[in-house]
Structure formats: structure tokens, C-alpha cells
């Protein structure tokens, strides 16, 4: 990204997302009836800023849309238009459209013009009538900022017309009207009013700017002060006559005087020939082709009005002795901004480097341990500090990547609006824990699965209004989106207050689809899990909404690829909750290093509930190759890790065998047998999916302190493979 404009444009789109976020926030609180005067101002400014930036980059569709949007909001904030439910609803839809337009502009995708125009037309019915479009169109004509586009002052006609009060009002010929070159030069008569000085303008600078057009002959007339007050200001007392030898057109002069328009008497006249000497002052005929009334003669201009003491003296620039020093101080203070924007690539690089650092530190620790250096020696103490620092650095780096889920939740509010409209249900979205932070990558990759889950909840989860009323519920369904931290993971729940999963129907469907045999007995949890099987769909007819060829199995795959899990909780008549559980970060995890059949493996620490050292008779066989473990009066199924992974055929159960008690999300305890526990440490996750695809039971790999590569197990997947084996076999039998 070497082109600075490209960089600014990229950051513009980032800013757009932030602005859109605050827009949605504001609109939502307006819709909820919580908005105040400032709320509509925030919304207005967000759209206004988007329009401003979009104009700079020539994004016409975005400009047009945001212009109409802001016009209506402006009417609301000025109080000429009352905000009602209908308008709030329109604003929300417009905000959705705006988000689309931003995305399409960013990605260069085609814009849904029909919808945009429809909304513009809808907005127009609210827009105040006096705001007329044609004049605006010129103003927003895209003018890309170009670094080498430094035209000479005479290039002015190439620029869009300056946006000024009509010059006719002031008795001056509009620039557009004179197209003939001013061969004989231009005469300017200029008499500044007192207000010109007060506005920070300086007549001498204006005259200097005129000198840029060509050689000038300048004369000045000073009205004699009529009283002592008159001496305190030059306002209205000085009249300059400047004759410029120039090829430039009068429009160039008008451009110079643009800002002082109305603050002075100005007369611009094209001289017929260079021989014609400077006309006497009162001879101030307007250009022949101007239809405008003649201006007030300059001679009448000087006002006898006394100058108030507050009027600044004509001295243009007060002395600024400390300027250099102050500027240097300001350079530091002004640039201190609360945020910096960093390229994601750089952060990725930092994350990777920190990963290497963690590995390196582990290797160093191991080497030092092998040297048998006594504890409390400078080396071991130094190492301890080093480890602590490494961990702090790593946590800080991970925090850079973390972002609140708010943006994700906001996108979901749109999904709820759209999908509820599509199926004709009234649905309210309630969000909770929007400030919960998770890894940025996870946020992006959660959008798809969450969208699908929400559509599902709207389509299948919630009953229609009539049924709801029949069941004593409010007509409007509620979908709750909640994020929170729980034991080192982030949980995101999608709940509905609908009818709950109809397990009879689910089971029947699974049988009908040949997913399970007819005579199988399944627990409620097992039935719920059927929803995640490929090719499952409960809707009798695949609806437009949730049945877009994406099933819950895809949702599950997407979540699993993030190191997450999905679980279902459903109570008939009360509702259903889908819970996504995600690791806090995608780059590092606390793991337990174990060995099984001479292989070193890492098990995520947060999956392990307890570790036990077994006696031989602790294991009770229940069937061939299957045993259970009695833990505090509870029987727990036992699996040998070596057998599960195919390292060995039979578990060598002996005195001192170690069992890890795992608790997959369902809350069922499972014991996993391993040979030894080596260590408990942080490991850097190195993805394997790109090279090997998804390996069941394996989440990723890591490099240990001694340089050895170890697989990181997906404890949940592993347990499900082990416990869910029956289900898999049944599937196979059927197919």
C-alpha cells in the first residue's frame, strides 16, 4: 500500500464501519425509545461523515444515498420532522442499505440500485421540500484529490463552480457569464468593510493574490476621518483601485474575493485595451452583459459608524514571538491520539514472533533444567522473570487482536429484521455482553454460523403469532444473543423463547432420512445432536430463509474450525438455546503434555477436570474392551487415548495408570487413560488444517521446548468420537 490515497481509502472504509456501528447504536436506542437530542445528532454525524469521505473518493452511490438519509435525519434533529415508529423502522432499513453500499463500494461489488433508489424515494417523502437537489448535484460532483493536480490560478474554470451566494445579489457579474478572454486586463475596485477585518481576512493578502494574475498598478484612496472614532479603524475608509495586466478572466478575480463576498464593495471590470488609462474612481459601470443592478457606488460606501473597541486593528498579523516553541509543543500534544491503526498483517507477524518467543523460552527453560542449576540461583531467578515477562507480552499481544463482539451482534440485529420480515413474524432481538472481547479472526468467522443460527431461530424456533398467543406468550417473539466469559473460554448463546425442539419430529425425520435406524433409543441430548448431522432438515418444506443449502452441520464445522463447540439446550414450550463455546485466543493455549505409547501429545488444560492415578482394580469392565471408572460414586466411561488414536490395540492397564477426567460441553464426565503426564505449559498453536485438512480428534500441532513436534488434541471431538461411536456405526449400517 504505497499509494497514500489508497491507504486513506482503506482507512476510510474502516472508519465507515465504526461510524455505521455508532449509527446502528443510535438508531436502535431511538427505536427503543431511549434516544435523546444527542442520539439523533450522533446518527446524523455518522451518516454525514460517511458522505463526506465518500464524496472525496467519488463513491457516488454512497454519497447520493447518505445525502438523502442525512437530509431526513437533519429535519428530525432540527425538530421539523417528528420521529415515529415508521421513521425509525425506515432509518434502520436505510442503515442496512448503507452498510451494503459501504461494503459494495469497498469490494467493488455491484450495488443493489433498485433497493437503494426505493429507499431514497421513501426517504424523499419525509424530506423537507425546499431542499432542492439540482444545485447539490454539482456540489457533490466527485473531485478526487490528486497530488500532482496543482493547477495555476487561471485554471479555475475547470473546477466546479464555487459555492457562493449568487453573485447577482451583489451586483457582480457571475463568473460563468464572461467567457471572453480579458485581453486588455482587469480593473478591480475594492473597498473593504469593517466586518472584513473581523473575519480574519486581510485586504493586503487579497491584493497580493491579484498580483499573481499579472502586473498591477495600485492606488488607494483614504476617506478623511470625520471624528476621533473614525481613526480607530480603517474599515470602510479605504478604497483600492487595482489594474491588472492579465490574460485571466474576471472569474479568477471573483475567486480570490470569494471569501470576502458581502464584506466589501467590489467592482470588477474588463478593460477594453491596454492603452486605456485607469478610469477615475466613480466610473464604475458594471460589465455590459450583466443583467444585474448596478452596485452601490463606492463613494457612498464609507460608513460614518463609530468603530467599537473590539474591532481588531488593521495590523494583519500580531507578533508571535513564541510561535516556534509553541508549535513544537503542539506537535506532540496534537498528535497524541487515543488510538492507532495498525495493519492486520503486522499484528499477525507480531503474534507469530511472540509464538516463537514462547517456544524459545520453553526450550531455554528445558536446557536450564537439564543443567541441574540449583533453584534460587541468578540463572533460575532470571529465567522465572523471563517466563513471567513472556507471558505478559503474550497476553498483551493477544489483547491487541481482541475486539468486542458488538459489531457482530449489530450485524445480527439486521439478520433478525430481515428474516422476521421474510417469514412474517414479529421478533425482538435482545443482546447482552456486547463488550465481551474475542479474537478478531473469530469475530469475522462467526458471522456466517451466527447468521444461520439466527435465521433458524426465527424460522423454526419461534412459533407464529397465533400459536404464541394460544400458548400464553406475547405475540412478539424474542431472540436473545448473549456473550460472556466462562472458565477461559468465550460463550456466545443464541436463545429463542419459542416452542423448543420437537424431538419426536426430529427423530422421525432422522429415521425418514435414513440417518438412524427405526428401533434406536436415544436420549434427548442425542436427539438434539441429530440436528448437526449432514443432510438434516426439520422443516417439512425447505423454506427460503434458513434452508439455503446450509445445514446445522456446516455451522458446527465452522465453529469447530475455530476451536469451538456448539451445544443445544431445549425445553419444550419454553425455548431453545444454542451455545457456542470458543477459546479466548486462537494462537496459544495452556496445555497438558502427556505421553501415550511413546507419543507426546498435548491436551488443552481447560478440557481437563481432574487427573487421577489409578489402581488396577479401579477400572470395572462392563463389556468387551469397555470399562468404567468409579469416581466418587459416579460411573464414568473410560477410553484409552492410545487405542482411540490407533497407537495400540489394547490399553495396558497397570498400577499407576493415569486417567484424565474430561468434561465435554454436555456435562458428561469421561475418563481418558494416558501413560504419563510430562508437563503443564503454554503451547503455541500451529495450524495443520491447511496442510492436512481436518483430522478427527486433533486440533493442531505445536513445537515443544526440546524442538519435538506434538499434536494438540481436540478433547471434545475426541470424546465425541469415542462416545458417539454407536451413532456413527448406526449411520454406517443404514447407509
Amino acid at each position: 500500500m504505497s499509494d497514500p490515497m489508497q491507504e486513506i481509502m482503506a482507512s476510510f472504509f474502516v472508519e465507515c464501519e465504526e461510524l455505521h456501528e455508532s449509527l446502528v447504536d443510535a438508531l436502535q436506542s431511538m427505536a427503543d425509545g431511549e434516544g435523546d437530542v444527542e442520539t439523533i445528532n450522533v446518527a446524523f454525524r455518522a451518516v454525514h461523515s460517511i458522505k463526506g469521505g465518500a464524496g472525496a473518493f467519488g463513491l457516488d452511490a454512497l454519497v447520493d444515498f447518505s445525502h438523502q438519509f442525512e437530509t431526513v435525519m437533519d429535519a428530525c434533529r432540527s425538530g421539523t420532522l417528528a420521529v415515529d415508529d415508521r421513521l425509525n423502522e425506515l432509518f434502520l432499513r436505510c442503515s442496512d442499505m448503507l452498510s451494503d453500499l459501504i461494503r459494495c463500494s469497498r469490494d467493488g461489488e455491484a450495488i443493489d440500485e433498485a433497493t437503494a433508489e426505493g429507499l431514497i424515494a421513501e426517504l424523499a417523502t419525509f424530506a423537507p421540500q425546499e431542499e432542492e437537489a439540482p444545485a447539490e448535484e454539482i456540489e457533490f460532483q466527485p473531485m478526487t484529490l490528486s497530488l500532482d493536480d496543482l493547477g495555476a490560478p487561471g485554471d479555475a474554470p475547470d473546477l466546479p463552480p464555487l459555492d457562493l451566494p449568487p453573485l447577482e445579489d451583489l451586483g457582480i457579474a457571475p463568473p460563468d457569464e464572461d467567457t471572453a478572454p480579458a485581453a486588455g486586463g482587469i480593473k478591480v475596485v475594492f473597498a473593504p468593510d469593517r466586518e472584513l477585518y473581523e473575519s480574519g481576512n486581510e485586504p493586503l493578502f487579497l491584493i497580493k493574490a491579484l498580483a499573481d494574475l499579472g502586473d498591477c498598478r495600485t492606488s488607494v484612496a483614504l476617506d478623511a476621518p470625520t471624528d476621533a472614532d473614525g481613526l480607530s479603524t480603517l474599515g470602510g475608509r479605504l478604497t483600492w483601485t487595482i489594474e491588472i495586466d492579465t490574460e485571466a478572466q474576471p472569474s479568477a478575480v471573483h475567486e480570490i474575493f470569494e471569501f470576502v463576498d458581502g464584506l466589501c464593495k467590489l467592482q470588477v471590470e474588463v478593460l477594453e485595451g491596454t492603452t486605456e488609462a485607469a478610469a477615475p474612481l466613480p466610473d464604475l459601470a458594471p460589465p455590459a452583459d450583466t443583467p444585474a443592478p448596478a452596485p452601490a457606488p463606492v463613494a457612498e460606501a464609507p460608513k460614518p459608524a463609530p468603530a467599537p473597541a473590539a474591532a481588531p486593528a488593521a495590523a494583519p498579523a500580531p507578533a508571535k514571538p513564541a510561535n516556534g516553541e509553541k508549535a513544537a509543543k503542539a506537535a506532540t500534544s496534537a498528535k497524541a491520539s487515543p488510538t492507532v491503526r495498525v495493519d492486520l498483517e503486522r499484528i499477525e507477524r507480531l503474534v507469530n514472533l511472540v509464538g516463537e518467543l514462547v517456544i524459545n523460552q520453553a526450550m531455554l527453560s528445558q536446557s536450564i533444567a537439564e543443567e541441574n542449576i540449583p533453584p534460587n540461583s541468578p540463572v533460575t531467578n532470571g529465567l522465572d522473570e523471563f517466563m513471567q515477562l513472556t507471558r505478559n507480552i503474550q497476553e498483551s499481544v493477544m489483547m491487541i487482536r481482541a475486539q468486542p463482539v458488538k459489531s457482530l451482534f449489530q450485524r445480527m440485529s439486521r439478520i433478525v429484521r430481515e428474516s422476521s420480515a421474510a417469514v412474517g413474524k414479529s421478533v425482538k432481538l435482545v443482546t447482552d455482553g456486547e463488550t465481551t472481547e474475542i479474537d478478531k479472526t473469530a469475530i469475522e468467522r462467526l458471522a456466517d454460523p451466527l447468521t444461520h443460527m439466527i435465521r433458524n431461530a426465527v424460522d423454526h424456533g419461534l412459533e407464529d403469532a397465533a400459536t404464541r398467543v394460544e400458548r400464553g406468550k406475547s405475540e412478539q417473539g424474542e431472540i436473545r444473543l448473549k456473550a460472556y466469559h466462562k472458565s477461559g473460554r468465550v460463550l456466545i448463546e443464541v436463545s429463542d423463547d419459542g416452542g423448543g425442539i420437537n424431538r419426536e419430529k426430529v427423530k422421525a425425520k432422522a429415521i425418514q432420512n435414513g440417518l438412524i435406524p427405526e428401533d434406536v433409543t436415544l436420549t434427548d441430548t442425542e436427539i438434539d445432536q441429530l440436528l448437526f448431522l449432514p443432510g438434516f432438515s426439520t422443516a417439512n418444506e425447505v423454506s427460503n430463509l434458513s434452508g439455503r443449502g446450509v445445514g446445522m452441520d456446516v455451522v458446527k464445522t465452522q465453529i469447530t474450525s475455530l476451536g469451538g463447540r456448539v451445544t443445544i439446550e431445549s425445553t419444550p414450550g419454553v425455548g431453545t438455546t444454542f451455545a457456542i463455546s470458543l477459546p479466548l485466543t486462537l494462537a496459544v493455549l495452556d496445555g497438558m503434555v502427556v505421553t501415550v505409547a511413546s507419543e507426546t501429545l498435548v491436551i488443552p488444560l481447560n478440557a481437563i477436570v481432574e487427573t487421577l492415578t489409578l489402581a488396577v482394580d479401579d477400572l470395572k469392565p462392563v463389556a468387551a474392551g469397555q470399562s468404567v471408572l468409579c469416581v466418587r460414586d459416579q460411573f464414568v466411561p473410560v477410553f484409552d487415548l492410545g487405542v482411540e488414536l490407533g497407537y495400540r490395540d489394547v490399553a495396558p492397564v497397570q498400577e499407576g495408570t493415569i486417567a484424565l477426567l474430561l468434561s465435554p460441553e454436555e456435562g458428561v464426565l469421561v475418563a481418558l487413560l494416558v501413560d504419563t503426564i510430562e508437563d503443564q505449559r503454554q503451547v503455541v498453536i500451529k495450524g495443520m488444517q491447511e496442510s492436512y485438512g481436518r483430522v478427527p480428534g486433533v486440533a493442531a500441532a505445536t513445537i515443544l521446548g526440546d524442538g519435538q513436534i506434538a499434536l494438540i488434541l481436540d478433547a471434545n471431538d475426541l470424546v465425541q468420537n469415542a462416545t458417539g461411536e454407536d451413532l456413527v456405526i448406526k449411520q454406517k449400517k443404514v447407509s
Partner: protein, 121 residues
Amino acid sequence: MSLSILAVDDSRTMRDMINLALTTEGFEVHLAEDGEHGLEVLDDLDPDVIITDINMPRLDGFGFIDAVRLRDDTRTVPILVLTTESSNELKTRARNAGATGWIVKPFAQDKLVRALRMVAG
């Protein structure tokens, strides 16, 4: 001449663009995010010209111009309003508050630079 400019705009994109346009021109650019911030910056800075947006949180452009004109050290500093607004009513308001000039966004770099040079001499 290297002019010292204070640009006040709540849009990061707009600040970036002004900064790029003016530093390319060799100006010394200082940025502020809204009127309040602009006034804070002015405590330590005597810019040759101030550029300000109108619609901003905390303290908007009108309030900012008012405040700048009430301060002894900045009473005569030229202030250019750079905004997407173009209504005459708002322009009159800005002028009454003491604005020196008005430029409508999106701006052309050469026009902005010419305007800056002119109001600053």
C-alpha cells in the same frame, strides 16, 4: 513559506486527507478531532490558518469559531470552514461567528492550498 495549519475535523478520513494534501505542500499540519480538542491544541499553538469542520461532537464548528474569536491570541487568525454543508444560512452563521472563508467538501487540493495561501498572505 511553510505555513502552520490547524485542521479540526471529526472524521479520521478527512483529517488524513487534509494532512496528506497539506504536508505534500510542505505545510506544517496539526490535527484535532473536534472543537474542544482544537481549543486545547490552540493553547500550545499559534497556527497561521485554522481549518474547521462544522458538524462535530462536543463542540461544533460554530462554537469553535466563536471561541477562537474570543481569545486574544487567535482573534485574527484566518479560519476556513471546510464542510459538506453548503446552505447559505449556515454560511451566514459561520461568517457571523467570524469565519474567514468557506470551502465545500470534497475539496480540490489546489483550491484549498490557494485559499490557505491567500488568507495567510
